[in-house]
Point group: C2
Chain length 356, copies 2
């Protein structure tokens, strides 16, 4: 119940025992094609270039920017948490002129401020679901006013659990991870690229490993399956197993389940007398943040509470990250764990450790 | 029996069913520490900075260069196959002054030519085991004469199956993959960095995802386990399972087993009347290359032979890559598959399909 990895769907666990296939075996290419199609469904997109990148969610962030940013490009980044900061750092290393638009951690971004920040940004980056604060940012509003800019959306903590609408929004690039609301282990970064963004991809970006043009030649059947790197076969099979479970339930049913579980968790934490951290009305169901109370029982500090939860109850929750270290806890409610029974378990354990 | 992935060790398969652990769970950090120590044993090194990178073998290549190369650096690359070419491409994208030292594909590099190619190279890159040709290059001879240069060694197709001696050679950076002679699925890139290379790492390399300095802060216990990206927990557990199997057998015993199986495969192919491709005396045991005969039985082309092997015998072998496409087959003899019984299976199947 931390900020990810979450416990995988049973179908993902089963898939982990599949026999090894070669990365060019027709049987594996069928699995890869199916996985890409499942990702289109969860991203709500028709984008042909939709695939699981061979790295964790942060590789999705790096690929998004490294394939688009040219030195000197104005890149507007909304920053109201650790992952907005990370976008600035990645863009900065690529030589972008980074324009930061800040909001306090725990508050949502102001979409108007993001849109006013530069007269002609080449790229605008927004984190949909800030894993460091539990806040949902209003991507639709930014997308509606983006003009000629390319919109890059980080959906690491939302995809599969919180509504993501790539085509309806008009997002140009959207990336996520495998280990949160998609219910697989960490190791892959689902990513989708609109035709407009695809036309803007750099031809020979500084990264060879994450070069989306070369990767497309292997992933898309029309690309002739040109060898780029050896696909992480096992992880793709496992992600496929997780996505099958998610889509068998139904994407909207999964959103509703995350919503119900997240709300129950928030209510239960308040019933324990704890104070939620993220601004009301902008709270994620998939990642709930709560302030560490000042009156911890004798001798316990915040890390001690987490240690007791893990050692005595088998429940993991997350610490605060970045400048929120020591101040909040982050409780995930993602994928297979987004269920009332998991919420009840974490609330009971936390109540016991806190003596409430 | 292709050029990788190979069938994983049973211990790796078992580990794939392990419960999910958080990337900061003490139980997972124990697995990670053990995996890094096992990698030191297979690399034959004392290097503290030794770890499984969160990407495939190509991510290891990119990390090696992206963390060292500064624009304008003279980088000498030995090129006698596809992976030498790839090193040139990766270094070129990073702004290096690439100095190519070529040998014909199928022949080994001339170490003297590599050492004479530039008066003061900052980096020298050599592929130990060329997966595209089946040739072993003489890393020790290049290392002995490298002077002030940093030596980067690609051990993707040798580590675990063919002697790699990072410290004895004096290699500065050495990377590999998980899915060949280490006997795990693809998805991780083991890498080791000498203290001298570590002191030369760029402070803010263009890649954030593969920034070895930041990754060290998480992987090394002394770095305070600073969060960088979410470690691919399942794949690390699986690699740990494979390495335990390999080291329980013994590294030298594994080398001897690969040597015996590779020799039997080479002898068996010649007994079928086929001609080996790689130069005699420089042939890898882990990856055997053989010329496609001109007298294929009626109606079959080289791809048809591979298809029949796969569909009728459940045996995968690899096609030629790059400029050798259509001219050779590549047969892996790696990890769990480096056994006489696997060799007998592939020889029997190939004999049947070729009518020999």
């Amino acid at each position: 119940m931390g900020p990810g990895p979450s416990n995988p769907y049973p179908g993902a666990v089963t898939a982990a025992g599949s026999p090894m296939l070669g990365h060019l075996d027709p049987a594996f290419l069928d699995v890869l094609d199916a996985t890409c199609e499942e990702l289109r469904q969860v991203f709500r997109t028709e984008n042909s270039l939709t695939l699981p990148l061979s790295g964790t969610g942060s590789a999705g962030m790096e690929a998004s920017l490294a394939n688009l940013v040219r030195p000197g490009d104005p890149v507007v980044v909304g920053v109201n948490g650790l992952f907005g900061e990370r976008l600035c750092e990645v863009a900065g290393r690529l030589g972008a002129e980074v324009v930061r638009v800040e909001a306090p951690w725990g508050q949502p971004l102001d979409p108007e401020a993001v849109l006013r920040a530069h007269p002609a940004p080449r790229i605008i980056c927004v984190v949909h679901a800030e894993t460091s604060t539990g806040v949902e940012n209003d991507v639709a509003a930014v997308a509606a006013g983006k003009g000629e800019a390319l919109l890059v959306v980080d959906a690491v903590t939302s995809l599969g659990g919180v509504p993501v609408e790539v085509d309806r929004w008009g997002a140009d690039v959207c990336y996520s991870c495998s280990q949160k609301c998609l219910g697989a282990p960490p190791g892959l970064a689902p990513i989708t690229v609109s035709p407009r963004a695809r036309a803007a991809l750099r031809e020979r970006p500084p990264t060879w490993y994450l070069d989306l043009g070369l990767i497309a030649g292997y992933v898309e059947a029309g690309g002739g399956r040109a060898y780029h790197h050896t696909a992480p076969v096992l992880m793709v099979q496992v992600l496929h197993g997780a996505l099958q479970a998610l889509l068998a339930e139904g994407l909207e049913a999964s959103w509703a389940r995350h919503e119900a579980a997240g709300r129950a968790l928030q209510d239960g934490l308040e019933a324990l007398g704890l104070e939620l951290f993220a601004a009301k009305g902008h709270r994620l169901s998939s990642l709930v943040t709560v302030k560490v109370p000042t009156d911890l029982p004798g001798g316990l500090d915040e890390a001690g509470v987490r240690r007791r939860l893990l050692e005595e109850h088998g429940v993991e929750i997350g610490a605060g990250a970045g400048k929120l270290a020591g101040q909040i806890w982050r409780i995930g409610c993602m994928g297979h764990n987004a269920r009332l029974r998991s919420v009840e378990t974490v609330l009971a354990a936390l109540g016991e450790v806190l003596g409430r």
